[in-house]
Symmetry: C2
Subunit: 426 residues, 2 copies
């Protein structure tokens, strides 16, 4: 039965049952957190042998003889550039190995652009009266927060099943020189889990922006984070851009935060040689070197891209059951009611759901009152404002299976209750 098609009387009865179920849950005094894309402790355990790779001072010398304990090597040690260059499909002169946070690399890239501009800028972005970024949404709240922080106006771009709306993007960037950038999570997008199609990547790689210093911020956060045996693949944006002589338009980011350790991983930025040279020069004012021991630790542990892939297979074994639990529960509890839509991602860290219009805030609030914290409704949109108040990002990775089961049962009840409330009020 579709909830929208039953009588008001039946709806009122349905709501009463939901309220009873909700009250029962509330009485349990739960305290669960499904708000962030955070690996579980069992996932972190997989990489523990990484801390055994150093046996003595000798073992801390990189291939070129650098003592990784000491100063130097601003843009990273060579073997890390090789490993992560291979992972992203870029050369070692097209990569910078950073500290533990790709968010920091992205923030710093925008911050430098504001104060100094990027390669090819006529002037720093901060010298313009107004600059704007395109923000495919639903998207990643921390990307949007960087824009807000620097006073960059955000324009929401709708997401389709093959990526963001390229017609709109092409039109806007070629007409409006205040548009300086766009945020993309091209594989297993946060939160929709969508992979950009080959056509979408090719169209990105061939954009003709009016702003000559426009940049695509390509946050490849989930580049090896597959959940199924039929993973999605995306084209190499830098390679595609080179075919058009437009490689300076692309900033690529990635990290091992969800490969090794969120708090102690390695972050990566990749870009054209021109970009890397310009960034390196400015970066040398900010720091002498990132943590090279941690870079070396990662290289020694993973060895090569096959090593990373084999490691990710273990993550998959842990995560796939959690995603399946959520998807199965949504299907079983809500599949026939017509009150929730969701994606079935082949990878990434989230399941994105859409409630009936106007119900997302209510669902999140109901869950919170009963002890389950979800990502705030609206967080997936620029300025935290979901125009339809319908998108919710579910992050199933952190809770153990039994807690996830409990949290999802509550979630389904809250969706039912909020939907019934809405339909009764119409």
């Amino acid at each position: 039965m579709l909830l929208s098609e039953i009588s008001k009387k039946e709806l009122a009865d349905f709501k009463a049952v939901c309220e009873k179920d909700y009250a029962d849950f509330k009485a349990k005094g739960l305290k669960l957190d499904m708000s962030r894309g955070k690996p579980g402790a069992d996932q972190l355990d997989i990489a523990m042998p990484m801390f055994d790779v150093f046996t003595n001072a000798e073992s801390m010398i990189s291939e070129d003889g650098t003592d990784c304990r000491n100063y130097g090597m601003l843009t990273g040690i060579k073997e890390a550039k090789v490993l992560f260059g291979n992972l992203l499909g870029v050369n070692i002169d097209e990569i910078i190995i950073g500290g533990n946070s790709s968010l920091a690399l992205m923030y710093d890239a925008v911050s430098r652009a504001i104060t100094h501009g990027v390669y090819g800028s006529e002037k720093p972005w901060g010298k313009y009266d107004k600059i704007r970024f395109l923000c495919p949404a639903p998207g990643y709240d921390r990307h949007f927060a960087i824009c807000e922080h620097f006073g960059i106006e955000m324009i929401t771009i709708p997401m389709h099943s093959d990526g963001p709306d390229m017609d709109m993007i092409e039109k806007l960037v070629c007409e409006d020189e205040t548009i300086k950038g766009i945020w993309c999570v091209p594989l297993y997008s946060n939160p929709d889990g969508i992979a950009y199609s080959d056509e979408v990547v090719k169209r990105f790689a061939n954009l003709s922006p009016k702003a000559k210093d426009f940049r695509i911020f390509w946050d490849n956060a989930y580049c090896v984070h597959h959940l199924t045996d039929t993973p999605d693949r995306i084209l190499n944006i830098l390679e595609e851009a080179k075919k058009n002589g437009k490689e300076d338009m692309v900033f690529i980011f990635a990290s091992t935060s969800k490969i090794s350790f969120p708090g102690a991983g390695v972050a990566i930025m990749a870009a054209s040689v021109n970009n890397i040279k310009q960034i390196t020069k400015l970066l040398g004012i900010q720091c002498i070197s990132y943590d090279k021991l941690n870079q070396l630790r990662h290289v020694r542990f993973f060895k090569d891209v096959d090593g990373i892939n084999a490691h990710m297979e273990k993550h998959k074994q842990i995560l796939a059951p959690k995603f399946n639990l959520v998807l199965d529960m949504l299907e079983k509890e809500l599949g026939r009611l017509g009150i929730l839509e969701w994606n079935k991602p082949n990878g990434g860290y989230f399941i994105s759901v859409n409630t009936l219009n106007g119900c997302a805030k209510r669902v999140v609030s109901l869950c919170k009152e009963a002890g389950v914290v979800l990502t705030g409704a609206g967080a997936t949109f620029p300025y935290g404002k979901d125009p339809d108040d319908r998108n919710i990002r579910l992050a199933p990775t952190y809770p153990p299976l039994n807690e996830l089961d409990t949290a999802m049962r509550l979630f389904c009840i809250c969706v039912k209750l909020a939907s019934a409330e809405k339909l009764l009020a119409e």
Copy 2:
């Protein structure tokens, strides 16, 4: 004999001997580096047991139950705040534990001030037509580089034996509202090795700047880096400033780069509660957390301030002989010639020397030609311009004793040669 008082004939003979000695050195094909304040490998070896503190996942849990491998704890784990708070004499709500680089914390502090201002700013520093920093010099080239990077005009302040010229500083900051900051290395200043006297610190703590958002950048890089049994001590600037209700004026920085590992240490920022709150809010846009495992590693290894002090005693055992070698050689080779002045620091990483006016560049260039790289002449002044071309920063820590001996022999010859050239030309 004073070289300035001998006859031209004697001077010419002296020069000829120097030229012969120099040619002999040049023939050796040396390749030595005394340019940066970099610890030697033997110093790094002392902290190697730090890599044994983690035995399993359990051992990576902080006192409050945080899994340090995962996300969270933006401003650092509590036990690291306690340890380094005790070291610097500040409370745990007055401290942020960062990544591996205090330079990055300083850069970020200036960068945020430019784009957003500091606590109490009427507007971001970048919105002013011109802002200026006071730069006691000789000073640290990387401080000056940050100013140059952000277009902050630098005003050189002379250094005295008890710290920078406070009369000049007090006059300038209370009259000129474009002056937004000052760089200080208060203990074992880079490069002079001077400790700011109690009076100087008290005068700093009681400045009355015209710019209400003026900040003292107090880079306490060498806070425990003593070289003798009669170490210098400085007053706690934050404590002193509190007595005057001016604690918001102070930004303190430190790191373990020269305590544990330059490439993999822990950096620290301390400031008033108002400042820390404002910074934390902005920092949350830049990153989710710094490397907490490395923070915990440091706490587990050092345990407490006594542990750090005991550790620094081992550094002293390695470094004191190097500093003594340099000082003895300068005394023996140049003590009576009246062509070089130098400091005898009780700590820090440098020996600062002053040649006859106009000779520093020549000395550095002669050394380089013969295979010994020194810090570039002028580097210790804003814009790399030493008005008298006389200051050279010697960094004796990195080379082994035998190499240091060779390098210093060459250095003394170069000083003699350059001085003779100058005096003959007069």
